[in-house]
């Protein structure tokens, strides 16, 4: 018995460091940020002045905040649609048994693993009017030019597509993993019955992907809701604050105009929204403990 106790205690030593780290870097700040949202904090000072709900009153009365909520919803929904639909087709292509398919799969993952900062600053150059490659292509094909990052109409679709291009490989990988669990016999039987590609997709592939699609939808939604680098490094929130999503607004409020308390309040409001989404997901779609 004595030995057992010792083993029981020792096994917690293995996982202590990682959970301590998660506690310090993720859990403690969670409570700290809510606390900060009730204070007026000056940059560089460690203590703030308690002001109750004033920060919340202030941000809720700001048109800029509501515009930001609006931008966040548009940004997240557009990204969600693109990043759910396209990976399905990419995954079907990558699910073929071909020579060198492993190399092709690795290559398709490249945008996901390459640092955002390098892609974003180079993309700014590629998207420039007059001198950029994309406008050169437009000039030669449809004879017109677009100020991709400079106009309010074009900025959201442009950055959504750029960000989706970068994140898409991950979703593709998730769907690919689900595709590989679908037995090939199902497709063969369908082909014998004369089902074409679309029929196979709608009656076999799509229904069997169900669970992973919901999981991916949840991940994609959260990641895009939280997206910062893609937006900040290309447009800093866009022409006329059109791309100033909540994370961008928090960053700017806290570290550009140095009102940490207000930033904390905005971050808290945004996170409440995410928590609701998360709870909904786990209530409705989380895998049940059957396996």
């Amino acid at each position: 018995m004595k030995v057992n106790y010792k083993v029981n205690f020792l096994k917690y030593l293995y996982i202590f460091p990682i959970f301590a780290l998660i506690g310090v870097v993720f859990i403690y700040p969670l409570f700290q940020v809510i606390n900060s949202s009730f204070y007026n904090i000056r940059m560089g000072k460690s203590e703030g002045v308690f002001i109750g709900l004033d920060n919340y009153r202030l941000i809720f009365s700001e048109p800029l905040f509501w515009k930001s909520v609006n931008s966040t919803l548009i940004w997240t929904l557009c990204s969600l649609v693109i990043q759910l639909i396209i990976p399905m087709f990419v995954a079907i292509i990558l699910n073929q048994k071909l020579k060198g398919i492993h190399f092709i799969r690795s290559s398709v993952l490249l945008p996901y693993i390459v640092p955002m900062v390098a892609l974003a600053v180079s993309m700014r150059w590629m998207l420039l009017p007059e001198i950029g490659i994309f406008n050169e292509i437009l000039k030669n094909t449809i004879g017109t030019q677009i100020s991709f990052l400079g106009s309010q109409n074009a900025a959201i679709p442009t950055v959504v597509i750029f960000n989706s291009w970068k994140l898409m490989p991950f979703g593709t990988l998730l769907i690919l993993s689900a595709l590989q669990t679908i037995p090939e016999e199902l497709y063969e039987a369908a082909r014998v019955d004369g089902a074409n590609f679309w029929k196979q997709f709608i009656y076999i592939t799509f229904p069997l992907l169900g669970k992973i699609i919901w999981f991916m939808g949840f991940l994609v939604l959260v990641w895009n809701f939280n997206a910062f680098d893609a937006i900040w490094l290309t447009t800093e929130g866009g022409p006329g604050h059109i791309l100033q999503t909540l994370p961008v607004l928090v960053y700017r409020r806290a570290f550009k105009v140095f009102r940490l308390g207000e930033g904390a309040a905005i971050a808290t409001v945004g996170s409440v929204f995410l928590v609701i989404i998360g709870l909904l997901y786990f209530k409705l779609f989380a895998p049940k403990k059957e396996d």
């Binding site: 993720f26 700040p29 390098a118 959260v222």
Partner: protein, 280 residues
């Protein structure tokens, strides 16, 4: 069999188009970094450089001012990334081993709660972490960044390496234990080397996370001599006259190490993510 041939052709066309869309910007960045300014400000000059030059790289690396010292920034990034790799590999291999070999109360939930941090709103963290580091005197230090990056990388790495440990039969450890080796010796001398591919994958992942991170670095670092490469690159775009040549050269120098490190472990990485996706 005509439909099979058509199918093969369609798949091949699909793959070529896919690779083109996915890789075009990266390849274009790489190729354009060798173009002189006159070609960089006029895309009509074509895809390939007419007069290839190294001047963008030379300007970036040799024209140095205290606020624009790219070699130093690369060195800082290397320091932070290697620190992150060391700490991540240490923490996640120990935790992954524990999770693979012992049962914990609520074991499944334990791992899930660890991965929960990947849906955590990072923007929620920046203000409290800034204040915490202010109090701990970790602002503007590389150690502070290493701690954050390790926290970002370690949960996924723990989960990945744990699946590698599970494939190592416990009998090997039991045999060593009969031969009188203690737990520490068994872990470091026997189990860890057997999980070599896993360690490598985990190390590369941690490196990639730390090497390219921008947001935390931009908040936590203040003095220009401490800047990491992503921060240095982003400040190039803030100058009044953006020098596109050095900008592209800097992008390539940030992208290239990631690609070189990624390909050897890509298979393990893909297998790890896909295996986990099915489990979920």
């Amino acid at each position: 069999m005509g439909t099979r041939i058509i199918r093969t052709i369609l798949v091949n066309i699909g793959i070529i188009m896919l690779l083109l869309i996915v890789l075009f910007p990266i390849i274009y960045i790489f190729i354009s970094s060798f173009k002189p300014l006159s070609e960089l400000i006029n895309a009509a000059t074509g895809f390939f450089p007419k007069q290839p030059t190294l001047s963008n790289y030379l300007t970036l690396l040799l024209v140095r001012t205290p606020v624009r010292n790219f070699p130093l920034f690369l060195l800082n990034s290397l320091k932070v990334s290697l620190g992150t790799v060391l700490l991540t590999v240490l923490i996640s291999s120990v935790a992954g081993y524990g999770l693979a070999r012992y049962r914990y109360p609520g074991g499944g939930i334990l791992i899930q709660s660890m991965l929960f941090i990947y849906v955590f709103p990072t923007v929620l963290l920046i203000i409290p972490i800034y204040r915490m580091f202010l109090n701990l005197k970790l602002l503007d230090t590389h150690l502070g960044l290493i701690i954050i990056y390790t926290a970002l990388a370690a949960p996924f790495c723990t989960w990945l390496i744990s699946s590698f440990f599970k494939t190592i039969p416990i009998e090997i450890e039991q045999a060593a234990s009969i031969d009188g080796a203690n737990k520490l010796t068994i872990f470091f001398r026997i189990t860890l080397p057997l999980a070599g591919a896993g360690l490598l994958t985990v190390g590369v992942y941690a490196f990639i996370i730390a090497w390219g991170e921008y947001m935390f670095a931009s908040i936590l670092l203040s003095s220009s001599s401490n800047r990491t490469a992503p921060l240095g690159l982003a400040t190039l775009t803030a100058e009044q006259y953006i020098e596109y040549g050095p900008l592209l050269a800097g992008s390539v120098l940030i992208i290239l190490p990631v690609i070189i490190l990624f390909f050897p472990v890509a298979r393990h990485f893909i297998k790890g993510v896909m295996g986990g996706a099915i489990k979920q």
